[in-house]
């Protein structure tokens, strides 16, 4: 390669790196489904429009829950809305998902969930039986997660203006004194753990929609995670750097967000990813990477190297997390990027998707 070509390449790589490290800008003319998929388009909406508009310290941290201090109490506050279709799917339903999703946003912020509020937006014509089923599911999930539903609201909209029912929640938690969590706290040599098999929730939903005519016994992994976080805090306490709930956009999105927030590189190993054979089969047929598929009960854990083994052992001792794995580690170069060592032995960049994972045709 000539010097001029090499210089051209260095310049172009510099431009790409600058573009990558910049805060995403929101430049689209309309909202598309991609803005809701948890990938790059979602990041542009959050970082380019919402966060700058409400700028404050708690929000700028871009955590799953915001920190609130009131009269000496260290609280965490989060909110979420659930618009899943179909409302019932193998392994769960919208009501259960709403409770678990909300308490998990608190748990990964190191806060013990205490109370929820609940807003229901109901479509005209919804069968009372379906509503009763969801209310029961909410009550059961709240009991299991140890939270009370302390306030609520209901609205009914005309047929066609909502998809059966939408559930909106707010969650309040008490921040645990043992936790020192921040997405900006990652250091080189830190290790990354995964609390179990991935890709089940997103795959269960895709199959339940019946669009692909695939049959596979895949069940959503929806579950509350505070008991898992509690076990990790007991085993590793302040050595835990950061916890994330790998929902929309999957594990790949979480790793990319963390690499950017801390300005570090992440090396993940495919051999450190456990995938159920039915999920692997469906993902293979649809041409989708399980690392991009949503989960509803899987933690990504970053922990200081000296506490990693204890944290992994503690994870595996929690019922439901027996298949926890070590996924990879934090490196210095190249900052802001995630590399994946494939099971076949090659290395590649593991990027966030721009929008929803769309099946490939070839």
């Amino acid at each position: 390669m000539t010097d001029a070509t090499a210089a051209r390449e260095a310049k172009v790589l510099g431009i790409i790196e600058t573009a990558r490290s910049k805060r995403a800008r929101f430049r689209d003319e309309r909202i598309t489904m991609a803005h809701g998929a948890g990938g790059k388009a979602t990041a542009s909406l959050i970082e380019g429009l919402l966060v700058p508009s409400f700028a404050n310290e708690a929000l700028d941290a871009l955590g799953d829950a915001g920190a609130v201090a009131a009269d000496g109490a260290q609280l965490a506050l989060t909110t979420d809305s659930f618009v899943v279709r179909p409302i019932r799917f193998p392994g769960g339903s919208i009501g259960e998902l709403a409770v678990n999703g909300t308490v998990n946003d608190l748990a990964v912020a190191g806060a013990r969930p205490v109370a929820l509020t609940l807003s229901l937006i109901l479509e005209e014509g919804l069968a009372a039986e379906d509503l009763r089923h969801e209310v029961d599911a909410i009550a059961r999930a709240a009991r299991a997660a140890g939270v009370s539903v302390v306030a609520g609201d209901t609205k009914v909209v005309e047929r066609g203006h909502a998809d059966a029912m939408y559930v909106c929640t707010t969650g309040l938690g008490v921040r645990d004194r043992r936790a020192r969590l921040s997405p900006a706290a990652l250091r080189p040599r830190d290790r990354i753990l995964l609390s179990g098999t991935i890709g089940e929730h997103g795959t269960a939903i895709m199959l339940a929609r019946g669009e692909f005519e695939l049959d596979a016994a895949v069940v959503s992994d929806t579950r509350p995670l505070w008991d898992v976080v509690d076990a990790l805090l007991a085993a590793a306490g302040p050595s835990l750097r950061c916890l994330r709930d790998a929902t929309r956009g999957g594990v790949a999105s979480v790793l990319n967000e963390l690499a950017r927030a801390s300005g570090v590189a992440i090396l993940a190993r495919e051999s450190g990813v456990a995938v159920d054979p039915a999920v692997a089969g469906a993902a293979e047929l649809l041409g989708i990477d399980p690392l991009h598929i949503a989960n509803e009960g899987k933690l990504v854990v970053v922990v200081a190297p000296e506490a990693a083994d204890a944290a992994l052992a503690a994870l595996r001792a929690v019922p439901g997390c027996e298949r926890a794995t070590e996924l990879g580690e934090i490196r210095t170069e190249p900052p802001g990027m995630v590399l994946l060592e494939t099971a076949f032995g090659g290395r590649r960049v593991l990027d966030q998707l721009v929008g929803d994972p769309l099946p490939r045709i070839c």
Binding site: T5, R8, E9, V12, L13, I15, I16, A19, E29, R30, I31, T32, M33, A34, K40, E211, F212, E213, P277, A280, G281, E284, L286, G287, D289, P334, L339, L340, E341, T342, A343, F344, G345, G346, R347, R348, V349, D351, V354, G355, L358, P359, R360, I361, C362
Partner: protein, 371 residues
């Protein structure tokens, strides 16, 4: 998964990588084109590039059916999709390909009824469920997907589904390969032949490449071991001075192809005089349209569309990237005006296009040791 896992064996991969290293002549630079987008996908998914010596370069060819659809055809698709009452169906990864004014995803956000399907039969099923509405299927792809479109049209005819039609953008693999080979600035040493296409057309149609252009072709499977073995077979042909069509994918590809698939294609389709390819321009006899016998199911005849040719952006140098004349970063707009979020050219459109891949991977590809 049986018949899959053995072709993803890391140990076998290491052995093949070692044999490839032994087969390259020091100081010689090899450029091998994988024709098919499916191969490009595997190469990135498994990090195969990373296992090759730096002087063996894989050039991503024109075989990504999504990337090659020109802007004008996307505009036509969007125009159809916007017709009130019409249901427009297409494959998922087609929805993000930009036309001159946005993508099908954008049109969907603006109210068009666009539905993602997994096969043309899904589109036919939607048509039967909504007999009062016109349902169009956006057919794309090489000889791999053309037979399933053909069978669907045959079934639509047999069942008398009058509200179903097909916007046909099927293309054939040989003409663009010939166009690439005819270009005077081509710098390629050999071809990894398209395995999926070959299950339909067989290995025979590629005989012209060694015969007329003296370049080796190895028809390859899609697992990482398949691809490494195919690279090795090409390197061996080169070092032994041989040049022929070899079939690495014998477990699936018969030399003569699939005669029944070819038969139904001949019944339903006929060649267009010419068809435009994004990045490559017009290529004679490279596209398919519905035959006279199926003209009534042709969406282009049923609905008026703009049919305007939209030139590729001037600054875009996808053609030269595809031919291996320049590297992605040597293109004038690469990384600045043209990025994966806002692609201009075909090579940046799909995540496996040469430029998108380089955008994401470039720095690491360079760190490999030169033999």
């Amino acid at each position: 998964m049986k018949f899959v896992d053995e072709f993803r064996d890391a140990e076998l991969g290491r052995v093949l990588a070692g044999e490839i290293l032994a087969a390259v002549e020091p100081g010689r630079h090899y450029k091998v084109m994988e024709v098919c987008g499916g191969h490009t996908h595997s190469i990135y998914k498994y990090g195969i590039d990373d296992l090759l010596p730096a002087n063996v370069e894989l050039v991503h060819g024109p075989g990504c059916p999504v990337c090659v659809i020109p802007m004008g055809r996307v505009d036509d698709a969007i125009a159809m999709a916007r017709r009130p009452g019409l249901i427009f169906t297409c494959f998922g990864d087609m929805m993000r390909v930009p036309g001159s004014d946005g993508t099908l995803l954008d049109a969907k956000a603006q109210g068009a009824d666009i539905r993602m399907v997994y096969s043309p039969l899904d589109a036919l099923r939607i048509a039967k469920r909504h007999p009062d509405r016109e349902v169009v299927f956006f057919a794309i792809g090489f000889e791999t997907t053309a037979p399933s479109t053909a069978l669907t049209l045959r079934r639509a005819r047999a069942e008398g589904v009058a509200n179903f039609s097909c916007f046909c953008n099927h293309v054939t693999i040989v003409p663009p390969l010939r166009a690439l080979l005819d270009s005077p600035d081509l710098r390629l040493d050999g071809f990894i032949g398209p395995g999926h296409v070959s299950t339909v057309v067989g290995a025979r149609p590629f005989e012209f490449i060694p015969a007329a252009y003296a370049k080796p072709v190895v028809v390859s499977g899609f697992e990482p071991v398949d691809i490494l073995q195919s690279v090795l077979m090409i390197l061996r042909q080169l070092s032994e001075g041989r040049c022929e069509v070899e079939n690495q994918y014998r477990r699936v590809v018969p030399y003569e192809g699939n005669l029944r698939a070819l038969e139904v294609m001949a019944e339903v389709f006929e060649l267009r005089p010419h068809f435009e390819w994004r990045g490559l321009g017009f290529i004679s006899h490279s596209g398919l349209k519905l035959s006279e016998a199926y003209a009534d199911l042709d969406a282009e005849r049923r609905f008026a569309v703009p049919g305007v040719r939209v030139a590729d952006p001037k600054a875009c140098q996808c053609g030269e990237v595809l031919k291996g004349v320049i590297k992605p970063f040597e293109c004038k707009v690469f990384g600045t005006a043209c990025t994966p979020e806002r692609p201009i050219g075909t090579c940046m459109v799909s995540s496996e296009g040469a430029c998108a891949a380089y955008y994401n991977f470039g720095r690491f590809a360079r760190e490999r040791e030169v033999v």
